[in-house]
């Protein structure tokens, strides 16, 4: 995994530089940045989202930019405050899911044998059991609230990451530098944390992004069903109330349209960021780009095979 070209430039700064150079990644980063900004400072400017400010179901106007809900709350205020809670839960769950997945996946891949067999069976079973119905029965038994929601999303979401981490660890396990570390008598823990984990930085970042997309979507879905804490303001509960107040059949599009658009924009931004990362850190795609530029300089069209050797002279 020679993502070295990217990270070599020096930790965080290297990442920033790499994102700036890639068009997809920059679009994603800009959109995401705006949402993070709104989540951080937005709630300071919009006032209490629960306050009953006007007649219910008013269309957008100057007083209420996105109109009012079926209860007479300001939709814009709810949207902004919801951004904070939804993004926070999404990111926290995204990180947790990857941590759990990495722990189990690396253990399985590194130790192999029976441990691997057992753990693989475990995450494969979790992968094949449909997530949403499982999430629903777990959430229904626990007291509703953000902690329950996060717990449920981690339980139903970690398996995919474990699978990816396992196969990645298996591949690294065969490499010479790991064998050398084993022969040198280093402890298993040290080999995993110092030798294997650093080679997976870009994979882990990509997984956190992907898992955050999952977490936001699943969270909104569960809350839409009424399994979140319906008294808190999040994107999901906003949609829940919109559906409950039959916003659709009264034609009140402004109560649900902006929220869904925000969910999609964040999801899209994260996906763009991820595919940008992929092009930056995947040596195969990177070579292809250099090769294409090289051919274009000589006025030729690229063929269909991936270049292996490049004459950079």
């Amino acid at each position: 995994m020679s993502d070295a070209t990217v990270v070599r430039a020096g930790g965080l700064l290297g990442w920033v530089e790499a994102i700036r150079r890639d068009r997809k990644a920059s679009i994603g980063a800009v959109i995401l940045g705006m949402f993070v900004l709104v989540a951080l400072v937005g709630p300071l400017f919009v006032g209490d989202p629960d306050a009953l400010v006007d007649i219910p179901l008013q269309p957008p106007s100057l007083g209420h930019w996105l109109g009012t809900t079926g209860q007479g709350q300001d939709v814009f205020a709810q949207l902004v405050v919801g951004t904070r809670t939804s993004l926070a839960i999404g990111l926290a769950v995204g990180v947790m899911v990857v941590l759990v997945g990495a722990l189990i996946g690396i253990t399985a891949g590194y130790f192999g044998g029976r441990i691997d067999g057992l753990l693989s069976l475990f995450f494969n079973v979790f992968l094949v059991i449909p997530g949403l119905p499982l999430a629903i029965i777990i959430a229904a038994y626990l007291p509703s609230g953000p902690l329950t929601l996060a717990f449920v999303l981690v339980v139903t979401g970690w398996a995919w990451n474990a699978r990816v981490m396992r196969s990645q660890t298996l591949a690294q396990r065969q490499r010479d530098f790991v064998s050398a570390a084993i022969v040198a008598g280093e402890s298993n823990l040290r080999i995993i944390t110092r030798e294997i984990l650093p080679t997976m930085t870009s994979l882990l970042v990509a997984q956190v992004i992907g898992s955050t997309v999952y977490a936001i979507g699943a969270q909104v879905g569960l809350e839409f069903l009424g399994l979140g804490d319906v008294s808190t303001v999040t994107w999901g509960t906003n949609l829940y109330w919109a559906q409950n107040d039959s916003a659709l059949l009264t034609g009140a599009w402004w109560t649900f349209a902006p929220t869904g658009l925000c969910v999609a924009l964040v999801g899209f931004a994260l996906t763009m960021l991820n595919s940008g990362f992929d092009e930056i850190t995947n040596p195969r795609l990177q070579l292809e780009r250099v090769w294409r530029a090289h051919l274009a300089a000589h006025g030729r069209e690229p063929g269909r095979s991936t270049p292996v050797v490049i004459d950079r002279a």
Binding site: V128, I136, V213, L225, L239, A242, A264, R304
Partner: protein, 327 residues
């Protein structure tokens, strides 16, 4: 043959895991489950609900292992307890009313989406960096980022409510009696168009990208170059040589996506008041009908496991390597 038996064994283990989860979840709650439930709902749970709950999960004074055996034997006999929301109907009967609609909706959506998405992926990889390849994947990724049920709400609002092109919900018109008449079937399709359409649009991007990426790496491989060098027609090279092999990752993903799509289509059903499991699920959540919730979970899990096994059979047919050296 060994492969297919091994997969079958895996699904049996998965089914057992789902059953066991179903058994232990209520017992993992702190304290005695029934009293804890009672405390939580501050008496909002009707007495018959408590009895139904106790009976369903075999909450008795017997040791845990006996309770577990009782529970398993109940489930194997198809006895999933009594529904609270539809008291006193048994859960199995309640679920049976909506099962066909859910399978119809999710099944049609998955098959349509997989077919169209995969074909688009092939075209996109073949005409690489053409206009289709430049715009379609990112557009579909954007559409795929929307929650299914939100796309459903927008579609219902625009195409159903404002323009009046499609019915606003339910599986068929109230004025029709179900039967194998042309009129009834046409009406069912008219009602299914929007729910199926939104799920298809939301999932199309995933299939396209999987197929496109695996096509690109296959198109660069030696045997494809050889086929081209032999002067075979591009159509033959793409479909018979590249696409068939590139299909494998998509087929593997198919099984896994089933559960996900089914979950999404449950939420879509709610928006369209479609009379499937999603609608029952909302009733169950609103009425704290645990027996019904768990029953739906079990039935959906079993359906997904069964479908996965069918996908394995297709895989066996597509990839000779899985058939093993013996055959």
């Amino acid at each position: 043959m060994r492969y297919i038996l091994r997969r079958l064994g895996f699904y049996l283990i998965a089914a057992w895991a789902a059953l066991t989860l179903n058994f232990f979840l209520p017992r993992l709650m702190p304290g005695d489950p029934t009293t804890a439930l009672f405390a939580r709902f501050r008496g909002r749970l009707a007495p018959e609900a408590m009895d139904a709950l106790r009976e369903t999960f075999g909450f008795t004074q017997a040791p845990l292992i006996n309770q577990y055996v009782t529970y398993l034997s109940h489930v194997l006999r198809g006895d999933l307890g009594i529904s609270v929301a539809y008291f006193p109907a048994p859960v199995s009967e309640v679920i049976a009313t909506g099962l066909m609609w859910t399978l119809f909706l999710a099944g049609t959506a998955v098959i349509i989406s997989f077919t169209i998405g995969t074909l688009l992926g092939i075209v996109s990889a073949w005409k690489r960096r053409g206009w289709l390849d430049t715009w379609l994947p990112s557009t579909l990724v954007f559409l795929g980022a929307f929650p299914y049920f939100w796309l459903a709400m927008v579609a219902l609002y625009v195409l159903g409510f404002t323009l009046g092109w499609f019915p606003l919900g339910h599986a068929y018109g109230d004025d029709l009696t179900p039967g194998f008449t042309f009129e009834f079937i046409a009406d069912v399709f008219r009602h299914a168009a929007l729910p199926v359409g939104t799920v298809v649009i939301a999932t199309l991007g995933g299939w396209l990208l999987t197929m496109r990426n695996s096509m690109i790496s296959i198109l660069g491989s030696d045997f494809v170059n050889l086929a081209r060098a032999k002067g075979l027609s591009p159509r033959r090279v793409v479909m018979r040589y590249a696409a068939r092999n590139a299909l494998l990752p998509s087929v593997t993903g198919f099984g896994m996506a089933l559960g996900f799509v089914l979950g999404g289509s449950l939420l879509t059903e709610i928006v369209f008041s479609y009379p499937g499991q999603g609608y029952l699920l909302v009733q169950a959540v609103r009425n704290q009908d645990y027996a019904l919730m768990q029953g739906i979970f079990l039935v959906i899990t079993l359906a997904v496991l069964g479908a996965n096994w069918l996908v394995d059979l297709v895989y066996l047919w597509l990839d000779p390597r899985t058939r093993g050296p013996a055959s």
